[in-house]
């Protein structure tokens, strides 16, 4: 449980994180700043993804784009979950179409020992400057969400050397060298605790921890190899005084364990009905989700039907933050994203809190 140093701010999104009533359901989107937006594509013609992340002015500018274009209730810092791995020693590139590639993957206890210690101020200062700039330029009513990848998801990229369908090498390291695995997870957690605390100090008003690929694990593996490390990171966020969103995809089998690991808000995808997920999670947490990103490709009536289904499942209960179940896809029609913001706000209007 978090202990707030100050009374909860009035922004819709932050109130919902604390399960307080709101005038409308707050809505934002994972990857709301991204390739589906013409403003973003224009910048990407001139700069690589890493260039954009590393230039605090550009990163802040991209962070603000969807706030102006869509009217969302929160901004999320423009950055990549893999950035902290670079100063740790990963040779990271983004290949067109194939996603991230790390050409010196971490496969052994020795590889893990040679990972470099990282401090956010020294090694990721450009991210913190982007947080300060974005926070300075955002309207007061729009909170800024900072974020990081969770230890498991980051470890999986380090070990696999990129994306994976089976996470074979990651699980193999867990099973065959549990001590090395835990030391990797501890290193990552240490970096993340410092990095996220620094984001909060720089002005982030909430933190999302992306454990995007944790749904690949059995409950037993999650509890044995992952939960305690996520818990350490989420406890540090709680100490920093801002709400934490604990997100994963395909997590129907892990919901209670993820809640127990921490987070004021649990992010779920469309693979579980929102009401069933919330029932299992119980009254102690808020919930974020869970429209299928592909619904944004549907004709308007079908899109609206699906938005209504999500809102009906939440049933006006305080503590629902509307979002997709995963990031906006690159080919998404921008008009559909805009339409969802309007739908959510119109459909969810209720008595002011």
């Amino acid at each position: 449980m978090t202990h707030l140093p100050v009374p909860p701010p009035s922004a819709r999104f932050l109130r919902a994180c604390r399960r307080l009533p709101t005038d409308r359901t707050p809505v934002w989107f994972m990857r709301q700043a991204g390739r589906y937006m013409p403003e973003y594509r224009a910048l990407r013609e001139k700069y690589s993804l890493l260039d954009l992340c590393r230039d605090p002015h550009l990163a802040a500018q991209v962070t603000l784009q969807p706030v102006h274009a869509l009217g969302v209730d929160a901004a999320i810092l423009f950055a990549d979950i893999l950035l902290p791995l670079i100063p740790m020693g990963a040779r990271l590139t983004f290949s067109a179409g194939e996603g991230p590639v790390i050409d010196n993957p971490v496969r052994s206890a020795r590889d893990i020992r040679s990972l470099r210690p990282v401090t956010a101020e020294e090694d990721l200062g450009y991210v913190l400057r982007a947080v300060r700039l974005a926070r300075g330029e955002l309207p007061e009513s729009v909170p800024l969400i900072g974020f990081a990848g969770a230890p498991f998801t980051l470890a999986s990229y380090l070990v696999e050397g990129g994306s994976s369908r089976t996470f074979r090498r990651t699980k193999q390291l867990m099973y065959a060298e549990p001590r090395a695995w835990h030391s990797l997870m501890e290193k990552l957690s240490g970096v993340l605790i410092d990095y996220l605390s620094a984001q909060v100090t720089a002005g982030a008003q909430a933190i999302q921890l992306f454990d995007s690929w944790v749904g690949a694990l059995s409950l037993d593996d999650y509890q044995t190899y992952v939960a305690s490390h996520s818990a350490a990171v989420l406890a540090a966020v709680a100490r920093s005084g801002v709400p934490a969103i604990h997100f994963g995809t395909g997590t129907s089998g892990l919901l209670e364990a993820m809640r127990d690991a921490g987070g004021d808000v649990i992010g779920v995808d469309w693979r579980i009905p929102l009401d069933r997920a919330w029932e299992r999670l119980g009254p102690s947490v808020a919930i974020q989700g869970n429209l299928d990103p592909v619904a944004l490709f549907a004709p308007r009536p079908e899109l609206e039907r699906q938005v209504r289904l999500v809102l009906q499942a939440a049933n006006g209960r305080p503590g629902h933050i509307f979002n997709l179940g995963h990031g906006v896809l690159p080919e998404t029609p921008v008009e559909s994203v805009k339409a969802v913001v309007e739908m959510v706000h119109e459909i969810s209007v209720r008595e002011a809190a």
Copy 2:
């Protein structure tokens, strides 16, 4: 519910499909005939995957390999779920490393109309001959499982033109052209009903319906766009008098709906604990699963721990068929697969039925 024309046969696997007590827990593996086996790799040096499928003698030979090498309690026909799409008009190839590619994907109502009608006897006779040959050569005590891809999973390959992470085009067709979608699903179901009935006539003693990718759907989408078509296929299998296994991955959100669509056995993956899945499914079905295929890469003590966890979750209840949660991975050590068969048989010994 199925009405058996004959009393339940005595084989362990078939008894478990009917939730009858067995002397030991039956065990087989999805993709138990595959690249991890030296005997199979030797054949693949001379023949392509499609060559092996299309030669009934070779397909029967491959079907029997794991029965001899591993001592599994059931054989599954060596074939590919995409075979019925070829006579329907799909130009299917298997590219090394990238999996199946269909270079004339189905994207419109017109594409769907131009799919050709298929009858198993005329167009897939080579599969039926492989069933007859394999059944003739198998020991009487080892049942032969026939199979097919479920309508949704086959449709997803046809529409995407191969594998997919997001199933964007498949869902887009559902949402934008529901009549065309349903007509595609009806065409596929018609082909599957004929194909699976013919497999049973040829000697298959159980059928597994692989809806491998259905876990990508929300419950609402499953019920709206998929369930009735799977139900039609599973009802036809039930009429044929053999048990049906209804399998998918990532299906924690869909379990009850999949059970309601049909099947005597529900196949689940490791993303949900087996006991929790069975509790939700209730007493009317048997269950198959659910070791993580990557556990086969673990050192022996960890592998045994995970095998025990699955058996403990089943708790000796009649109707558990031990399997992985998905297919054996190509790099799997064959000794581990063999060891799991022995572990399952040793750990699960109990009073004879």
